[in-house]
């Protein structure tokens, strides 16, 4: 049971933090976790459909948003930490916001985006009913040391669920005997067809098992992206192919949508209202900063979050640069990762013909150096994000714009853009 005095205290801190002009996210969570260590675990025990964990290195925020929307189409009331603050304290803060003063939270299911390392401890305490694991890509090595460690974190998370684990069957570290064999919950897979697989660059060529062998690692069920033509996708499950027209951009966002379908099917089981789910799928949009369009002075400005080489490569491959003015903003705050090595594992050839208009962020010059060695021309470099954005918007006036940015750069850019354009608030 949630302790009432914890809730009251947390809400008071949240209120105070908002008055100070903060988003009300990190601080109250931090305070309540100090005050009542079992607050999150206690609050998460009461949902009739249980708790869902979504983890992996890339695509958590977008996927979580999609899963929430698909489940809402099924008539469920969903609790989620939709802010992208995926540490335990972010969940504490989200719980506080949604609870009434007596600690009651009206929802059928909790869908939680979880940071890989933090999920381990919470998973062992909370015992989620379902867990969706997206991928293990090279990300923030300076935080975890090695990518194999990240896979080990995800494995421990995968050990926790009571009902089922849904895994990206095209990820070499997840679709392996070592990862799957000792899991106790039911394991299903999602992925893409053989003909699409080359569109997903891998960090290594460990993808040595054929698609049939990979599928065989899992229980019978498989949800697969069969084809993608522009925004029209064919998704296959239960031996049927469904055609859906989508609003999301970019193949990796579409794969996130496929994983959301796999999870929604698993949760709803026989109660699944298929037409409603597919309709909701056709309406989902990417999460903030994951290809969202912000209209600035009448032309779209697209924000694409890049945080590791695979994500950056996917981003460059998914979005055609033709006709777009491009800006790249690289910060190296703790949340971005301090090590710049990853920029050298991304191939920038696709930007060669059109060039890049603006380079910014604390490590703008590292990015400039990287482009210089790939013979990609760039016009302007400025480490000051605000000035740089202004210059970019003015110089590329009528053209559609695209900004590739690291996490903290994206947060600053959204903040700046919100002064001159309608930017959807992050909940």
């Amino acid at each position: 049971m949630v302790k009432i005095h914890s809730v009251l205290m947390g809400k008071a801190v949240q209120h105070a933090a908002r008055l100070r002009g903060g988003s009300g996210s990190a601080l109250p969570g931090l305070v309540i976790e100090k005050f009542d260590k079992s607050f999150v675990a206690n609050a998460l025990t009461k949902f009739p459909y249980g708790v869902v964990f979504i983890s992996g290195t890339n695509g958590k925020t977008t996927t979580t948003k999609m899963v929430v929307e698909l489940l809402e189409s099924q008539g469920l009331k969903v609790f989620t930490n939709r802010t992208g603050s995926n540490f335990s304290r972010g969940i504490a803060a989200a719980l506080l916001s949604d609870m009434n003063a007596r600690g009651k939270l009206k929802a059928d299911i909790a869908v939680l985006e979880m940071d890989e390392a933090h999920a381990v401890h919470l998973a062992e305490k909370v015992k989620p009913r379902y867990c969706l694991l997206l991928n293990v890509m090279r990300d923030q090595l300076d935080r975890f040391g090695e990518i194999d460690h990240t896979a080990q974190f995800l494995h421990r998370i995968a050990m926790a669920p009571t009902n089922s684990v849904i895994v990206n069957r095209d990820d070499p570290r997840l679709a392996s005997r070592k990862f799957i064999d000792d899991l106790t919950a039911k394991v299903s897979g999602f992925g893409v067809s053989e003909k699409l697989i080359h569109q997903f660059p891998s960090d290594d060529d460990m993808r040595s098992l054929s698609i049939e062998k990979r599928k065989a690692l899992f229980d019978q069920d498989d949800t697969s992206l069969e084809s993608l033509d522009g925004k029209s996708a064919e998704i296959k499950y239960a031996n049927k192919i469904k055609k859906v027209s989508l609003k999301v951009n970019g193949i990796y966002n579409v794969l996130n949508a496929v994983s959301a379908i796999a999870l929604c099917r698993e949760i709803m089981g026989e109660k699944l209202q298929e037409e409603k789910m597919l309709h909701a799928l056709s309406e989902v949009t990417p999460a903030f900063g994951r290809g969202e369009d912000i209209i600035v002075n009448g032309s779209p400005c697209q924000l694409i979050l890049v945080k590791n080489p695979s994500g950056f490569r996917l981003g460059l491959q998914s979005f055609d640069p033709k006709g777009y003015a491009i800006m790249i903003a690289i910060n190296d705050n703790y949340a971005d990762g301090r090590d710049m090595s990853w920029l050298w594992d991304v191939d920038f050839d696709t930007l060669k013909s059109g060039g890049v208009s603006e380079l910014s962020g604390m490590r703008a010059y590292d990015m400039a150096l990287r482009l210089q060695y790939d013979d990609v021309p760039f016009l302007h470099v400025d480490t000051d994000l605000r000035r740089s954005l202004k210059n970019f918007l003015e110089s590329a006036n009528n053209k559609p714009k695209r900004i590739y940015c690291t996490y903290t750069a994206m947060m600053s850019l959204r903040h700046e853009l919100s002064k001159i354009a309608d930017v959807k608030a992050v909940r």
Binding site: L141, E146, I147, D339, W342, D345, Y365, Q372, T383
Partner: protein, 242 residues
């Protein structure tokens, strides 16, 4: 004119298994800077089990995860005499992180297992529980200030036949005791610095190319390269928090 000469051949050692910290950046910088000076360049990948190529002018190797190191170890022993001959003959080499350790005498794991290296560098490495992570700047007599990023749990100690690449100004380096970073012997440089190392430290890249060219063609065509952005990137990197 150098363009009529046979190309400079760069061997990338174990790109498949030992490549986690942007090691490709080192290869790319060597290739481009040699090309900008008018040399033709060939990059040859060498992975476990491949035939070891002939006529190699520069060797570059990177860091790997534990699983990657396990995969290359046996193969590295197999080609060790070839690498040693090349090192003795003055072939320039740059090995970072994992391969730096394996180019040494041994690596002692957390559970006190001894993994034998190939002994080209007179160094010994012992795994410790603490991971040494962060921006690092070192000072070298030969190359001036060198800037990079370190991320390793092995602590390396130099024997009398190895000289450090430089002394640490900020960061940790080889170990927590003596402020040294990296090791050099003949024309072989080993270091924990990535970031990647060569893009922001082109003087090391140019030195490697110079050794290779002089050895192969008898001379080196030095030509100034515009390093304006390199200087700015170095300056900013040195100011960032650890």
């Amino acid at each position: 004119m150098s363009s009529t000469k046979s190309p400079l051949r760069i061997l990338h050692l174990y790109p498949r298994d030992m490549n986690i910290y942007g090691d490709y950046g080192n290869i790319l910088v060597l290739k481009r800077r040699a090309e900008w000076r008018g040399y033709k360049v060939e990059v040859i990948d060498y992975n476990p089990g491949d035939n070891f190529p002939k006529d190699i002018d520069v060797i570059v190797g990177g860091g790997g995860q534990d699983s990657g190191q396990d995969k290359v170890q046996a193969d590295l022993q197999k080609i060790s005499h070839k690498l040693r001959d090349l090192a003795d003959n003055g072939t320039p080499m740059l090995v970072i992180c994992g391969l730096y350790q394996l180019f040494g005498k041994y690596f002692q794991t957390h559970d006190k297992r001894i993994i034998h290296g190939i002994g080209i560098l007179d160094i010994e490495t012992i795994a410790e529980s603490e991971r040494l992570i962060g921006n690092i700047t070192i000072q070298s007599q030969q190359f001036g200030d060198i800037v990079g990023y370190e991320n390793h749990s092995g602590q390396t100690f130099l024997g009398k036949n190895a000289k450090p690449l430089g002394m640490v100004i900020r960061g940790v380096g080889n170990n927590k005791k003596d402020k040294s970073e990296g090791a050099c012997s003949n024309n072989v440089i080993g270091s924990y610095l990535h970031g990647s190392l060569l893009p922001k430290n082109p003087h090391i890249a140019d030195w490697l190319i110079e050794q290779a060219a002089t050895k192969k063609y008898g001379n080196f065509e030095s030509k100034n390269i515009d390093d304006h952005f390199t200087s700015l990137a170095r300056e900013h990197a040195m100011k960032r928090p650890r």
